[in-house]
Amino acid sequence: MSEQRAVLNDQTFSIVDEAERARHLERIWAEPKGFIGWFKAVHHTTIGKRYMVTAFVFFLAAGLLAGVMRLQLAFPEAHIIGPDLYNQIFTMHGTVMMFLFAVPMMFEALSVYFVPLMVGTRNIAFPRLNAFSYYLFLFGGLMLFAFFFVNSGPDRGWFAYVPLSGPDYGPGKRADIWAQLITFTEVSALAVAVEVIVTVFKLRAPGMSLNRIPIFVWGQVVVSFMVIFAMPGVVVASTMLLLDRTAATQFYNPAVGGDVLLYQHLFWWFGHPEVYIIFLPGTAIVSTIVATFSRRHVFGYMALVLSLIATGFIAFGLWVHHMFATGIPQMSEAFFTAASMMIAIPAGTQIFCWLTTVVTGKPVLKTPMWWVLGFFFVFTIGGMTGIFVASVPVDLQVHDTYFVVAHFHYVLIGGAVFPLFGAFAYWFPKITGRMLSERIGMWSFWLFTIGFNITFFPMHILGLRGMPRRVYTYPADAGWTVLNQIQSAGYLFLFAGVSLFLWNVWQSLRHGEISSPNPWQAGGLEWATDSPPRPYNFLNLPTVNGGEALWDALPDQPVLTGLHEDVREIVTTRIHDAEPDGRDEMPEPTIWPFITAVVTTALFIGSIFRPIAVSIGAVPLAIALIGWFWPTREESERRKRRDIWQKS
């Protein structure tokens, strides 16, 4: 046992050797070049960037769809677009924002790019699965928009309730396309959840014990667990829906023992945790930015981590509050009201910890910090209307009105999009090697914040005045015209704010100030390497001595040696104390995940039209997976020569 341990030593490093090692590691870890090479990439920074760009493009597309709705609603009794197209557009807007932007961006994109860097390793666990998850996400989104452009976009709302989406009331293929889009996105989210958990549990830098894991990483781990336990709800709900529609099952048919509320229970078992899957990464971003720009360790680290975990647990006890209007027993209503209000405890704890961090630190107001201040303001308003709608009588009054639309835009945009823009401003230099312009950043912040409030605040009042959501127009004498026009004007500000952000990115990519490895003097490990990081992430893999690895490092903080550098070898550590535990080899780039994703896509789309496509598609899928896992003879023999079996 004893000889299988890591040993502390002294070693002489020379600059010449280091440069030589860097060139060598670059060759070993580089992504393949060329057109075909693009489809073989497996490094987490490559895939993470693709996730970010793709999810952001979906955000812009869904934002433009919102613009069409705002145009239509700017005038009473307007006929710019008809009711059928309007139904498709609001369904597309919600579906794309939730499934193709919010979760893939807040969870997949950010954790795939940053978690391996923040825990100090060279790639994410299961990198090929990671590449596969990206292609599935991309293909799912492309499929949805392709069907939308041929007038087959889903049109039953983003949660596609039965019986409206069932075989009797949802003719055509629109609801099936929605159900399969869900399958694409849930598979990719589930894959990333497993990768993140394994990366954080087993690949942390030595010394990064549980109490030294960055809060951002804690947030993504909690979200990963939520994905694993929540997603099966929507898997089951949408699969049953698809089977009812294509294979004549009767899950939701009350005439033969089925039940429509079964769908709502299963959907919201997923749907409520989903909201926290979107917003916990936001709070984890806020904890990170607040600490960096207050120049101190975050106040109440333990309270913040426990709040994240508590939110994760409580999230699974709230789903029925989406169903107060369905006539469920009063006892359940009381229980779920209490449970819903309980979420204010961990949310409030976090807010007080952040405020204390700011007040007791030396705050520096840069754009990332402004977005955090915007988050405080907007999210707190959303939280307060949350207390309104958690209460049954108020909920029954405002159910399906614009009040609810206002509430969830305040919590989702406040809780996720504000921190996200903060995250872009904060980590842009790390990802691209260039700084964003502070001046344009401030303009887009103020335009977005003001525009957001002009667009969404009046919705509270409209909802209280009785305007229902999801109507394509309204009568001129309803008294809703002026507020709708104010909202549509607000959209122009939002549009300008986001356009300026894009301009800022475009300009900064070409002319921005070159960034140092650590432009904000932050404490996280992601700042310990070049901007942008080399494909091996760290020339010398780090060890960790505190919660903010760079701030707390010893003058002679050890680095790791002894890994084989002619292959993609990494160190594995123990879960609780992050003591070195073993070595493992990361796989090489390969095209198989792409091929597997293409086959899976054919299978999923085929199943919309013929259930038998699942059985037929299983054969090429199995072949693709075997190709994926089949080792090369050379690597097997090399590994065999070097095998050191664990003792005990």
Partner: protein, 207 residues
Amino acid sequence: MAEELTRRRQVLDLSMLPNVTFATRSLTWWGTIGMMAIEGGVFALVIAAYFYLHSRSQDWPPGVLPPDLTWGTVNTVIFLLSVIPTEWYRRRARKGDLGAVRLGLILATFIGVANLAVRYLELRHLNCDWSQTAYGSAVWLLMGLHITHLLTDWVETVVLTVLFYSPHIEGKRFVDAEENASYWYFVVLTWLPIYLVLYWAPRWLRS
């Protein structure tokens, strides 16, 4: 000059660490556990849906007989007995015992064939149709989910058996063999509640 170009610093030397590690020390184990958690969640929710539909029904099973006990019980016995050879080759895999793992994988392949054959007979005796009642839909969905796992694991076992007769034998293969056994345990362990739900719940709940 040389002083400026070099410096001494502390290093943590990892070269003695093992690279063939099992169970919680291997990444494969954690990946497999993740898969099991996801699929276990799906099973649990479908079982919950089954009982939810029961709570909304007057009679259960509605107008049909419960599935015949014989073949389901036979398969359950095969599943339980399969644990003996599986546990044997799992333990030998940790010792790098090539002969035992080869034999164990071949046995596992044949046991899988037996399970699949009996499963076909089970499907013939479910006594319900998925398109007639929600009860039938739930029964077939649970069955279908479990068959998918059975088939996946069987293909995986066949591929691994072939690998064990190829030049690709190395430490990682033995880790794979152990994980193949763990995944089989998952298939067996999920079957037990499903067996009770499909075959016994309709008998116990019959009014």
